[in-house]
Structures are given as C-alpha cells and as structure tokens.
C-alpha cells in the first residue's frame, strides 16, 4: 500500500482510492469539482516520488515536468510527498468586462486577463470565484487581440457558481482563470474537410468558437452546425447565426427544438437533435466532428456519426460532466 505525505501528515492510500478521496476523508480541504480528470480543479504537486502517468493526462507539459498531477485521477503506486501548488502558478486573474443576457437563463460573460492567455477556440477553462469555488466552462471566443475571453453561463437551479455569476458578479470584478484544457478545437491543414458541429444548450459555446476559427481560416469544406434546445428560447444567438449562415455559402445552421411552439422562425426544426442529424447528414466518411453538451446525447451522436463513417479519431467530444 502506498503512503502519501501531505502537510507533515502521513496517510495510507487504500487500494483503488485516489489521493483526493484519501485527503478529503481525513478532513483536508482540497479544491475539487468534476472528480473525473476533466476540470483540473484538484491539481496538486508531487515533491518526492512520482505519480502514475494516468494522473497527468491533459496537463500542460510544463506543468507535468514540475510534478503537477490531478488528485482525483491519482492512485499512487509508490510513496509520495505532495502539496497544493501556489494558486498563482495555475490560475491567473482577469477582470470582468461585460455581462449580458443571451436568453432567460444564459448570460454571456466577457473577461480580460492582464497577461496574455493563449488558447484554441473550443477549449475550456475552469473559472474560480475564490480559492475553493470553481466551475469549468468552454470558451466561445477566438484568441485574437481585442477579443475578450467569452463564456456562456447557464443559471443552474441552486448552482453556487452560476448563481454567483448571474446575480452578484459585476463589471470590474476580478475572477480567476485556470487552463486552457482539452483537445476539442479546429486544426488547420485540411480546409476541404467537411465539419459536423453539434451541441445542446450552452454546448453551443465551443462550437461557435470552432466554427468562427474555421471560417477565419478560410475553410472551404462544408460546415454543418446543429444546435439543440428544449424550447425556442434555448436557441440563443439564433438570429446572429442565421445571419452568418447567409454570409457563408459553406455554412449550414440547423436550430433544433424538442418542443415546438407557435410562430417559430422558418429555419427552426422540431425534433430530437440526433434524429435531425441522421436525417440531414447521411454519410460522414472523412468528416471531422465536434460534439458538446448533454453527455447522453453526445454519446448517442458520437455513435451514430461513427456508424455513418466518421473515424473515431476525428470525433472530438466535450460532454458536460456535472459535479
């Protein structure tokens, strides 16, 4: 059994337990969130010994070499000494520059970092209110000068973080950013490849970034953007995307609602987004696919896109994992 040393205390890590489980069981406060290796909230640093490769998946190389690892994914095989890294090594401050409503339960949050923040459109970050309260959000913006980091934040009932953003956060306030994380982004080099982008709810955010990145890169292949919502009001940014569709001949936008309403715009399609995708795009051989949003739907669409011919390695998915 491996032992871990934290703040001069030594703990046995029982087999199958993670470092995070062990520390929490012993009453230590360790920032954490998804507990699935995705949000990187529980990042810690090993100062003696080494951690399994599995515990460093998704971290930047510069962080790996400094011994950073994710406590939730770390099942140590040898004795290790660990500490919490200084927050300023993993998080940078940013200033809120704009908060505006996109729909009745989604706001657009724009923040500006003092130092340059390098990322790819479509990646996600973890935003922190303070040392312990953080949540992961996808970037909806493009990494270009004069464009603030932009997020779509849905108000979750009783959600601590989203409630704070919706009700208390003001322009000029400070917020902290950790990341960027993830490989769900556009890569140049195959401008003729067809792209399928599909997301539900605020899963639209990274897809908008990826779509704009592709259009800015003069992508010539078809770009099919599917956005699924329960009701019409969930199809936020509908008018903007419809306009964009008019400006680019290779862009097709499919706004999908599960529950139809009277007086819907002409282009809105009623039905299950996965069925609308299979009816609209029959063959995906050679395509690249980006999926984001509800986990169950992401997995359903991943399977059907794969069966329609898309290679597994060309399917990038960013399912929302709720903590």
């Amino acid at each position: 059994m491996a032992q871990l040393k934290y703040k001069d205390e030594v703990f046995n890590v029982s087999s199958g337990s993670s470092v995070l489980d062990t520390l929490l069981e012993h009453g230590h406060e360790i920032p954490n969130n998804c507990r699935a290796g995705a949000c990187q909230s529980c990042v810690m640093q090993v100062t003696k010994g080494s951690v399994p490769e599995q515990a460093q998946i998704g971290l930047k190389d510069s962080h790996k070499t400094r011994g950073f690892f994710l406590a939730c994914s770390c099942r140590p095989e040898e004795d290790i000494d660990i500490c919490l890294p200084d927050a300023d090594q993993t998080r940078i401050p940013a200033c809120v520059s704009k908060i505006s409503k996109l729909s009745n339960d989604v706001v657009e949050l724009k923040i500006v970092t003092v130092e340059t923040f390098a990322y790819h459109a479509g990646q996600y970050v973890t935003l922190w209110r303070d040392e312990y309260l953080g949540r992961s959000y996808s970037l909806a913006s493009l990494p270009q000068p004069d464009e603030a980091l932009t997020f779509h934040i849905r108000l979750i009932p009783d959600g601590m973080f989203s409630g704070w953003v919706h009700k208390e956060l003001r322009v000029g306030d400070t917020i902290f950013v950790q990341g960027p994380i993830g490989d769900c982004f556009y890569t140049r080099g195959k401008p003729e490849q067809n792209l399928l982008l599909a997301g539900t709810g605020t899963g639209l955010a990274p897809l908008l970034g990826i779509m704009r990145d592709a259009l800015n890169s003069e992508h010539t292949g078809e770009i099919h953007l599917f956005h699924g919502a329960l009701t019409l009001s969930g199809l936020y940014l509908h008018d903007d995307i419809t306009m964009l569709e008019g400006a680019f001949s290779n862009l097709s936008y499919y706004p999908c609602v599960l529950n139809a309403e009277k007086n819907m715009p002409d282009n809105v399609i009623e039905g299950d987004i996965s069925k609308i995708i299979s009816a609209s795009v029959r063959h995906t051989c050679g395509w690249k696919t980006f999926l984001s949003g509800n986990q169950g739907l992401v997995e359903t669409i991943r399977k059907q896109v794969f069966l329609a011919g898309c290679n597994m390695k060309d399917i990038y998915a960013d399912p929302f994992i709720h903590s």
């Binding site: 997995e299 991943r302 399977k303 794969f306 069966l307 290679n311 597994m312």
Partner: protein, 121 residues
C-alpha cells in the same frame, strides 16, 4: 518468412482495421447488444488490443483477464454463436483491407483459440 503480423501490416493495419471492425460489430444485430457501453473510446482501445493479439502482434494475453472481462456477458447469454459472429465480422474486415484468405484463416484460428476463455468454460 515474415510473421503473420508483419504480413498483415503491423500496427498501421491494426489502426486501419479497428474503426472498420468496431463499426461492423456495432451494426451487427446478432451481437451489438453486448457492445452497448457508453464509453466508445475505451471500447475502441480494447478492440485495438484484441486485433493486435489475433493479428499475431505483441500482446500480453492473459486467459484469466479474458475470463473476468467477459463473465458478465456470459451471464447475459454470450455463447458460441456470438463468438462466430465476431470472427465473421473480423474476416469481413480483413477482406475489405485486402488481406489474403490464408492469413484471414490464421487470424480466425488465433481468435478461436481464446473462445473457451471468453465463454468461461
């Protein structure tokens, strides 16, 4: 003479085969109920090690793991007919990739050699 694994095309052939094979399996109504897991990427990784093994490539095949890994499926009714279907899909995949019939037979023989472990008998 080159080994079976080399003749088929090594790791590149495994990479080419895994998507085709997994797609056949998921579309095969005789067996797809056993592949209804949520995590497709994890499942594709398992397919990859299976294909590497039956292509005669480097593997650390372990009969005990094979038994453990399929126990819950045997309880759900996994039997010889399902193994036959998998081997058939495997053969069709290799045919599509232009592998010679004799080599396909050799792959099927390796797959058959683990049948008892898979079926826990």
């Amino acid at each position: 003479m080159a080994s079976l694994y080399e003749r088929i095309g090594g790791e590149a052939a495994v990479d080419a085969a895994v998507d085709i094979f997994y797609r056949k399996v998921l579309s095969d109504d005789r067996i797809n109920q056993f592949f209804d897991a949520v995590d497709m990427e994890a499942q594709a990784a398992k397919q990859k090690s299976f294909l590497t093994m039956v292509f005669g490539g480097p593997n650390n095949y372990n009969g005990k793991d094979m038994r453990e890994g399929h126990k819950h499926l045997v309880e759900r009714g996994l039997n010889d007919s399902h193994v036959d279907a998998v081997i058939e899909d495997l053969g069709a995949t290799l045919k599509e990739l232009g592998v010679a019939d004799a080599d396909i037979q050799e792959v099927a023989d390796i797959a058959n050699s683990v049948r008892d472990d898979v079926l826990n008998r």
